[in-house]
């Protein structure tokens, strides 16, 4: 760890009417990086997406909940959902969206980014994603959208395989009705 003398050391600031010297500071870091696994359910989700270009979800019959992203268990009743897999067409509706103008540090973005939470049809879940092929002023809450995936050969079985969602070319039929 390198101790740094701050340039402002000698600058006086007023605190509660008393002049005092701004404190010396030094830097530190937590020297770690991370290796994550998708998990048993996540691995199946991403392998299906990579190979077949569709989503896969799990379903709790008792709680009438369809989990997307899929889970191995129902968070309400702890039922084992490992035998309840179903294919899901990656289409949905814009549940909410925002137009992002600044980056993490508060600096301006060169062009604003469209970020939405998309509820996937036939499920009780969804994904945070980017909206593609649409101008911010044209986005509407509840509009139908469909997935834009990376080309099959470029897919790696990660979230980056999903480039975003674009307005649906035809109004998507809901695969089945819930409740």
């Amino acid at each position: 760890m390198r101790r740094q003398r701050d340039n402002a050391t000698t600058r006086s600031i007023a605190v509660g009417g008393l002049a005092r010297v701004e404190p010396r500071v030094w830097r530190g870091a937590m020297p770690v990086q991370f290796l994550y696994t998708a998990g048993a359910a996540g691995e199946r989700f991403f392998q299906t997406l990579k190979r077949k270009g569709i989503f896969t979800a799990t379903h709790c019959e008792e709680c009438r909940l369809t989990y997307l992203p899929p889970r191995l268990y129902c968070e309400r009743c702890f039922a084992d959902l490992s035998d309840t897999w179903r294919d899901v067409t990656p289409v949905g509706r814009v549940y909410t969206f925002t137009i992002v103008h600044v980056d993490r540090e508060g600096g301006p973005l060169s062009s604003p980014e469209l970020v939405a939470f998309v509820r996937i049809d036939g499920t009780d879940g969804g994904l945070v994603t980017r909206l593609l092929e649409i101008a911010p002023e044209d986005v509407r809450i509840d509009m139908s959208v469909e997935i834009t995936l990376a080309p099959p050969r470029k897919r790696r079985g990660t979230l980056e395989d999903i480039l975003g969602f674009r307005p649906a070319r035809s109004v998507a039929k809901r695969p089945f009705t819930r409740r």
């Binding site: 770690v32 889970r71 702890f78």
Partner: protein, 391 residues
Amino acid sequence: MKRKPRRKVAVIGAGLSLFMRRALETGKELSYYAASQALETAGVRLKDIQAVVMATAPDAFDGVHMKGDWLLDGAGGVRKPYTRAYVGGGSGVFSIISGWTLVASGLFDLVLVVGEEKMSSCQPHPQGAFLTIFDHTIERPLGPNLLWIFSLEQHRYMSSYGIRNEDIALVSVKNKRNALNHPAAQVAANLSVKDVLASDVVAWPVHRLMVSPVSDGAAAIVLAAEHVARRLSEKPVWVQGVGWSLDTSYWGNRDLAYPRYVERAARMAYGMAGISEPRKEIHIAEPYDPFAYKELHHLEGLLLADRGKAPDDLARGRFDRTGELPTCPSGGLMGVGNPIAAAGVMKVCELFWQLRGEAGARQIPGNPERGVAQAWGDLMQIGTVAVLGVH
């Protein structure tokens, strides 16, 4: 202790995932395996559970900030009062204490307690995260890691009482051998003292085989109030006493040869349990053993051996599975593995199975009636103790 709690609390179910070097399963999924198994053995469903306590150590291990909340659904805490118990390495046993307060207070009758750690996420080694537990002004500029501290402490322990490294290596031999009978074990082995001392020196006098591994895993128990426990369980295991205590966080102001914080925590738990002669009244112990010497150190703090004499007791077989006071019959952290918070809960699970006579090939003889589990952590100065028994 100001007042004895009036409500009795029992453990009525226990569950464990495999402990392993790197699990495909997420921490949530590991938690679910352990928690759902604990519920099943207790004969209760998640909807019967009124509150959940989740024990998990530093966020940086899993690489998820505020991971207690992230693990919520895997621990069964959705739409329930949910608390994270977090005192570093002591979290596992502290989580039982946390759960116990929720039931003993009369607030809830059925509480699920889950411990989880997925340390394989943290690269190149969790020691990088541990760096920042040291004081940023008086310690971190030296670039310390935990091995320094444990080695310094082990050396002080050895020199204070004239203990040889061979005496300490025997803990690794015993625990790794005990773990051969544990179906969840990660590093079970049949080794000799010579093998242990032939392994690399990581920081003298500590050799690699005297250090527990980096692990992924989860463990869980179900706690019930007396009237519920008697209805649901034929063999409830009662939490007879709990205790915890912290020493100063300054290394320089602590006694490194003797863990006084463990003694204080033990005296609190023994007082609550009505134990006046722990060596006669406790039949089985699961002291915290992340490093080989720590089991001996902690047994002395738990007043189960004379100061500096635990190595002699170990050498004459007192702590063997068939000995007078079996210690770490599970195989402990040295044998089963060390997914930090889960390892502490695993120790309570072991007492639960042993006291019910359900430990299979690990079962100690003589129908044990009372056991003690202990963990240690925070800034290496907390002792957490739970006494469990069949009455």
